[in-house]
């Protein structure tokens, strides 16, 4: 049975907290997925990654915030940047590889070239854009809000977010517990064919899956 969200976006029939019941369509409905993108992933704080994924200056890796591709980079001064992976010229993705090490990114479409802190450092035939063209105004767009706690990086695509959501919603005790002990492996990507919340639900926040399926790893 397929149950779609009703026109009023009322989920009370699908999520019955008191009974501990969540309808399976919450994980499969395209309409609910679009609502989640608009209300959560493109608006609220989203966990992006850990600073150890770009351990050395020049390291970068690609991340997704909802449907937006984001470059996570560490520049020469050690600062981590989250940049929209979209060339300011024609909107092509600047980085294609999931990870790498480069202090400059060159868009393969027309050669616009950026430093890994997002500044546009050069382009072919700049004179064609006129004397008033200002490279300084065409750096890669920064993710509007970035937060960090104990090396965990959070970001929001919304400059304002939601009321009361000015800081990343960090459960501080787990983050404190692993401080200094956590080092991410080399970034990789699995092609999941599942609802985007599945990973989160299987993290230790849920606990039961990890304890049952991965007990030998603890």
């Amino acid at each position: 049975m397929t149950v779609e969200v009703n026109s009023a976006n009322d989920f009370s029939d699908l999520v019955r907290i008191d009974e501990g019941l969540i309808h399976s369509s919450v994980y499969t409905s395209e309409a609910i997925f679009e609502l989640e993108l608009a209300r959560i992933f493109h608006r609220w704080w989203v966990y992006v990654g850990h600073e150890s994924e770009v351990a050395q200056p020049g390291d970068y890796c690609l991340k997704w915030i909802g449907r937006q591709s984001v470059i996570m980079t560490r520049s020469e001064d050690g600062t981590i940047h989250l940049l929209m992976n979209r060339c300011r010229h024609r909107g092509a993705t600047v980085c294609q590889a999931d990870k790498g090490s480069s202090h400059f990114f060159k868009c393969q479409y027309h050669g616009w070239t950026y430093s890994n802190d997002g500044e546009l450092i050069g382009l072919p035939h700049a004179a064609a854009f006129g004397a008033s063209f200002d490279k300084g105004s065409y750096g890669l767009t920064r993710v509007p809000r970035v937060g960090e706690y104990r090396g965990f990086l959070f970001a929001s695509l919304s400059p304002t977010g939601v009321p009361g959501g000015q800081n990343p919603p960090v459960r501080r005790d787990p983050a404190d517990a692993v401080q200094g002990q956590l080092e991410a492996g080399r970034p990789g990507r699995l092609p999941p064919r599942c609802h985007p919340s599945l990973g989160t639900r299987n993290q230790p926040a849920s606990g039961r899956h990890a304890a049952w399926e991965h007990d030998r790893e603890f």
Partner: protein, 67 residues
Amino acid sequence: MNTSLLTVANEFAVVNVWVDDSANGPRLVLRDPKTGERIYLDPLELESILRSRHRDLTPLVDPGRFD
């Protein structure tokens, strides 16, 4: 005599690298495998690069310098 050739590549560029001993002194060769274009860098030039910051390389990376 040349040392073994290395290829250093990422999604933005591919470069062949080796040490060339065919001249009166050793030089590091950088070659673009697509075009064959190459440059021979002597030790003083290499030392200058190693004392540079990446920001100093910006004029060299700018594709507009070939306009």
